[in-house]
């Protein structure tokens, strides 16, 4: 194991998108869409 005190964050390029940030936004956005969908699903069928 190497020493971690001087770890340089060599960022590997993200597949499909330009940045990893877009991946994270996709995950958060999809979760938000799911919650909204579940909310209306609950409302509609109750």
């Amino acid at each position: 194991m190497q020493n971690n005190r001087h770890i340089k964050q060599e960022e590997e390029p993200a597949p499909l998108f330009k940045k990893w940030g877009y991946w994270y936004a996709l995950v958060i956005g999809f979760l938000a869409v799911l919650i909204i969908f579940f909310y209306f699903f609950t409302k509609y069928f109750s």
Partner: protein, 578 residues
């Protein structure tokens, strides 16, 4: 079970073992055995992560949960996607850069040896016991339903997977998980299809959803905010799901070796990240789909006679008890209500097809009243079963889906569903045993060995530790049967007792760069664990009302606060003039 079921079961299980052995070829060193030489694609990492998290209980208990309590259990997973992002940003790059075998190696580098040992020990204790229960829980269900010997079922449940786990390590575990998940999803899809297919003519999928929804089984989003404020003791609502679920998922994916060991096998940081993020995308819909099976099953039993209690072993117990007569009266009342409900639900669906709002509202109201009466009889029976006079287990959630499988599904499909229970268990147990062996080998054996051990010797020792942990888990499963079902409930919250503290140590390591004193973090973790245990004791004895998911953020917060406090105290002790 019929002969075709036995054939399907035996062929599926032996097929998986043979496939695992076929994928066992790896280099004879620790890189090959525990990390599959860091060669896995994101797809395999994703399936391995899902296979590790999803146990047999995930697939058989979740539909039962939706049947009894509705679909709100899905909220438990809302924090998971957010945790995946934090793991990708913070944990993965560091673990990957340091080329660690276990997450806990990093803690020695960051703090000191004793902090690493403490956290690794907490992991071994928690994971070792909970894996034993993971062997026992599905074995108990199968032995009750099929009248199999519990000891032999434990041995087959925990023993067969050892053949490929010991032989091929992480590589065999990942490849078998891939095949297991394909079979599991195919089987669950077939069951859902059969439930809809067996509904009466003219009742379709959306009709089934309407019936289920009107009877409060499609309650996916709940807030538990009332006039009296927020209900802190409620386990599954949107707030506990996002906050508590986030901390639980973060500790599970960031600090539990059984998951860390899966994404460390990826060939690059990018492959690890994509595997984890894809898990964040698919996990919630996957759980939603499994719970939906339970909600549909609930509708199915509105048209068919449902047992008042689904575990027949416990029914036999109450029938032998002094409460037998009362039980039979309740059972008859329940059956009568079933007939009435059947008539009402048919007229409700007719009103639904006509589109008559007034008629629909009237039928819905009648149906709800009948359901309330049914629920109250079921509640009464459950209280009787749990009473001292009967001394039984009054939770039949795990039996609801399987009772349906045995009573209604055709020959062959029953065998496949029983095989799925084994496969789902094997996926999580194999990964857990592999991680227990890696921590024992790397964090303890290698650390305390004098001199350098040959790679071939380390490889052989790792296989032995895998076997030892496998045997340990089977032994725990055997003892669990002797102790009783109360232990299962205790072990369900075991994760929350330790995960918060384990995660707290990692958060201090990653985010509190000024805290460098290992002793401060070590004692911070010890005190935090004591606080968590004390809060749990207060909740258990009803002094306070608190759902177990909240123990995770409490553990994390306590470790951070105590570490900051002790860092300050120890610094003053070293240099009292400052």
């Amino acid at each position: 079970m019929s002969l075709p079921d036995w054939i399907v079961l035996v062929v599926t299980l032996l097929g998986i073992v043979a496939y695992g052995l076929n994928k066992s070829r790896t280099t004879r060193n620790l890189d090959g055995y525990f990390l599959s030489n860091r060669s896995m694609s994101w797809g395999l990492v994703l399936l391995s992560i899902i296979g590790t998290q999803a146990s047999a209980v995930t697939f058989i208990s979740a539909p039962g949960q939706a049947y009894t309590d509705g679909m709100r259990f899905v909220q438990y997973y809302f924090g998971l996607p957010l945790a995946m992002i934090v793991v990708c940003v913070v944990f993965v790059p560091i673990f990957s850069k340091l080329k660690v075998y276990t997450a806990y190696e990093y803690l020695e580098n960051r703090f000191d040896g004793k902090t690493r040992m403490l956290v690794s020990f907490l992991f071994l204790l928690n994971r070792g016991l909970s894996t034993g229960i993971s062997v026992f829980a599905p074995s108990l269900i199968l032995s009750s339903l099929l009248e199999w010997n519990i000891y032999w079922t434990n041995i087959f449940m925990g023993g067969l997977l050892l053949i490929y786990t010991m032989s091929g390590g992480a590589k065999a575990v990942a490849h078998t998980q891939k095949l297991q998940l394909i079979i599991i999803f195919a089987g669950m899809f077939l069951s859902a299809y059969m439930i809809i297919h067996m509904l009466p003519a003219g009742v379709g999928f959306t009709d089934a959803l309407h019936v289920s929804g009107k009877l409060n089984r499609l309650n996916v989003i709940t807030t538990e905010v009332t006039k009296n404020g927020f209900n802190w003791s409620d386990q599954y609502n949107i707030f506990s799901g996002i906050i508590g679920g986030f901390f639980l998922s973060l500790s599970y994916f960031g600090a539990d070796q059984s998951q860390v060991g899966r994404y460390l096998t990826a060939k690059s940081v990018a492959e690890s990240r994509v595997g984890l993020l894809m898990n964040g995308l698919v996990k919630v819909p996957m759980q939603f789909a499994i719970l939906l099976i339970g909600a549909l099953l609930f509708t199915f039993y509105q048209f068919h006679k449902a047992p008042v209690f689904f575990n027949e072993t416990q029914v036999a117990k109450i029938e032998r008890s002094p409460l037998s007569d009362s039980f039979h009266i309740a059972q008859r009342e329940y059956e009568d209500l079933s007939v009435k409900k059947n008539e009402k639900v048919v007229s409700f669906v007719d009103a639904l097809h006509e589109g008559s709002e007034v008629n629909m509202a009237a039928k819905e109201n009648e149906l709800r009243q009948l359901q309330q009466q049914s629920d109250s009889i079921r509640k009464k029976v459950k209280t009787w079963i749990g009473s001292k006079q009967v001394g039984g287990d009054n939770n039949d959630t795990n039996y609801i889906f399987l009772r349906f499988v045995l009573d209604y599904l055709p020959a062959g499909l029953v065998g496949l569903l029983i095989a799925i229970i084994f496969l789902a268990s094997w996926g999580s147990i194999a990964a857990a045993i592999n991680s227990l062996a890696s921590c024992t080998m790397i964090d303890f054996h290698r650390k305390y060995s004098k001199g350098i051990i040959e790679p071939e010797k380390e490889y052989t020792l790792s296989k032995k530790y895998t076997l030892l942990w496998g045997v340990f888990c089977i032994v725990v499963a055997m003892f669990t049967y002797n102790i009783g079902n109360s232990l299962i409930e205790a072990v369900n919250v075991l994760g929350s007792l330790f995960y918060g503290v384990i995660l707290g140590v990692f958060i201090v390591a990653f985010l509190f760069k000024k805290i460098k004193n290992g002793s401060a973090v070590f004692w911070g973790a010890v005190f935090a664990e004591l606080i968590v245990l004390f809060v749990f004791f207060l909740a258990k004895t009803n002094v306070i009302k608190l759902g177990f998911l909240w123990l995770n953020p409490i553990g994390v917060t306590c470790v951070i606060l105590f570490s900051i406090l002790f860092q300050g105290l120890f610094a003053k002790k070293i240099n009292p003039t400052q």
